[in-house]
Symmetry: C2
Subunit: 353 residues, 2 copies
């Protein structure tokens, strides 16, 4: 059954004059043919747009636990996952750009997929997410965006989008992501998935999820940060030693288990490991940001990507004690890159080059 694609605005806009945020919406159903199984899914795409509808569009994509809510706005006042960098007057200025956020297929947000056979959603790739983004832009009537900005998983999807739709973006900005994954990152995520499956097998999904997230957190941060934050001696609770770093990890794990499900974790974690993009297919200029201390995406991999992009890439190397999480923590250095590539300084920059 073929249905018309429509944009459903879940909550009516509070004010109707142009230049104001479009509240959270859902686009769909759209048809999506999944890369690996070739199965066609009918998808509703959860998305948010912030900023003037006539301003240049900038897509902002985060990690596997990010959603369409990039930043607070009238239609959704809670802080977004990139609040520090996206908003009025911020690095990605929502008074000058129309910022588009999207919920991942298989993720936590409002994007929902149904297949005709009612079978569960199979493996999802970053190419599938790129296709989903293309369908969203179609629905919003946007032929070409100023930039797709992505970090971590979002950076992989930005690369996949740039490879698959080379003329639909002026630039990709890719933070802490490369054209392929590293076997050590795969190893650590594979163990996380095994932990989650262990939880499912034993009827303890939340415990498995929490424990998997604890391990993930160690890969998102660095030894140097842990050294600075956590004293090493245990606190004794009766005869049981409790190390300061344990308290932190347990808290992180529990908090995550409250808002994620095993099914989503397994699918998006696997999607990270299935990622592979041919840089030769990317035609738009790409700004890469590598973090020296990132252990999940080692800087040499981004250097390799830079080489493979030939003249189309540029690489900004930053340092951060937060490692892979730098895109969430290093507001100043990441902000400078965003301002000069997609923000209000971008125009000047084009002239200067």
């Amino acid at each position: 059954m073929k249905t018309e694609t429509e944009i459903r605005v879940v909550r009516p806009p509070r004010r109707s004059r142009p230049g104001l945020p479009l509240p959270p919406g859902r686009l769909g159903p759209v048809e999506l043919e999944l890369e690996l199984e070739g199965r066609v899914m009918n998808c509703d795409i959860g998305f948010e747009c912030i900023g003037p509808p006539d301003a240049p569009a900038v897509v902002a994509l985060g990690g596997i636990s990010a959603d369409a809510h990039v930043s607070a706005h009238d239609g959704g006042p809670r802080p977004g996952w990139w609040e520090a960098l996206v908003g009025p007057g911020r690095a990605i200025d929502t008074e000058r750009c129309r910022v588009i956020g999207m919920d991942w297929l298989g993720g936590t947000g409002d994007t929902v997929a149904e297949s005709a056979t009612a079978a569960p959603l199979p493996a999802v790739t970053t190419r599938d997410q790129a296709d989903l983004l293309a369908r969203l832009l179609d629905g919003l009537g946007i032929e070409r965006v100023r930039a797709v900005v992505g970090a971590s998983y979002g950076g992989m999807v930005a690369l996949a989008f740039a490879a698959r739709y080379p003329r639909r973006l002026e630039r990709a900005v890719v933070i802490s992501a490369a054209h392929q994954t590293h076997p050590m990152a795969t190893a650590l995520r594979s163990i996380q998935r095994e932990i989650v499956r262990f939880g499912l097998r034993t009827g303890r999904e939340a415990e498995g999820l929490a424990l998997a997230r604890e391990l993930a957190v160690t890969t998102y941060r660095t030894a140097a940060e842990f050294h600075a934050r956590f004293g090493n001696g245990p606190v004794w609770e009766r005869a049981v030693p409790r190390f300061p770093v344990e308290t932190y990890l347990r808290h992180q794990g529990r908090r995550f288990a409250d808002r994620f499900t095993a099914e989503r974790y397994l699918r998006l974690s696997e999607s990270l490991d299935l990622h592979a993009v041919d840089p030769a297919r990317i035609l738009a200029p790409v700004t890469l940001v590598s973090v020296r201390e990132d252990t999940l995406v080692p800087p040499w991999q981004m250097e390799q990507l830079l080489t493979k992009l030939r003249g189309r890439g540029e690489l900004v190397r930053i340092r951060s004690r937060y490692g892979h999480d730098a895109f969430l923590k290093e507001t100043a250095s990441i902000g400078r890159v965003l301002e000069s590539t997609v923000g209000q300084r971008a125009a000047n920059r084009e002239v200067a080059r």
Copy 2:
């Protein structure tokens, strides 16, 4: 009840002339007052001696899964955990040294502890292991050894022994171990212990152990090794992707679960994190070996230890793609250090300095 300490030789020596290996034995019972609870345990100590009884004694201590069987000998012909470096004509030459191996208190070997109250063995520290080693040397009639050589957990115990019995060794050789642990190492071991406890709670001890070991393996090796060994693309088994590194990890986990128990894992893993030695108490010269790629024991920690040892330390810096496992894999470079500190070249070296 006070019992006489005795050396029980489990299997009679095949030949009785001096210079031949003493087969596996057990010493005990000896009394040991545990550091943290102050409880007195009666211990039988599993040990092995290889080499001429009148030769200088060298104690060789390995990681938490090592045992008293350091190298093959007449009384125990299967390969030991340090086979490549200990044996006739090898770096630690069992024709010139009497090599002593010991089973950890709480470990996999023959060391057994019983308390008067039949309560389970409480937390064990590296100081407890050092005390156990001192009782073993008492029983063997050895007042002072040429060296205590230890790697990983064994290196921590070597430092604890040097701090607690400063006059009972001529030298400590400490590979990939420092005076304290790092919070990131504690974080990753804490997650391993949580996985093992998860297995215990759900009646799936072997699965929990295997999964914990998989995580441990990623910390013993390096990203560079995984990159060189494992291609990144998955092999598809029906619709399920299986990444090459997963096959390796699953195998490592299962193999380990066959020979370890949750109880031992929890106790020795915790012991690693409880480790802390005051370098000021160490009087004997200490040779430190740091591995640049070791992520569990970062080289800066061993540099710090070197400083705290003041004139009593020397540091050999090596590089290895095997990271923390270098002591098992880098036969050439580790061998040179052992030869020059405890092996046949040690005497020349003393002259040369």
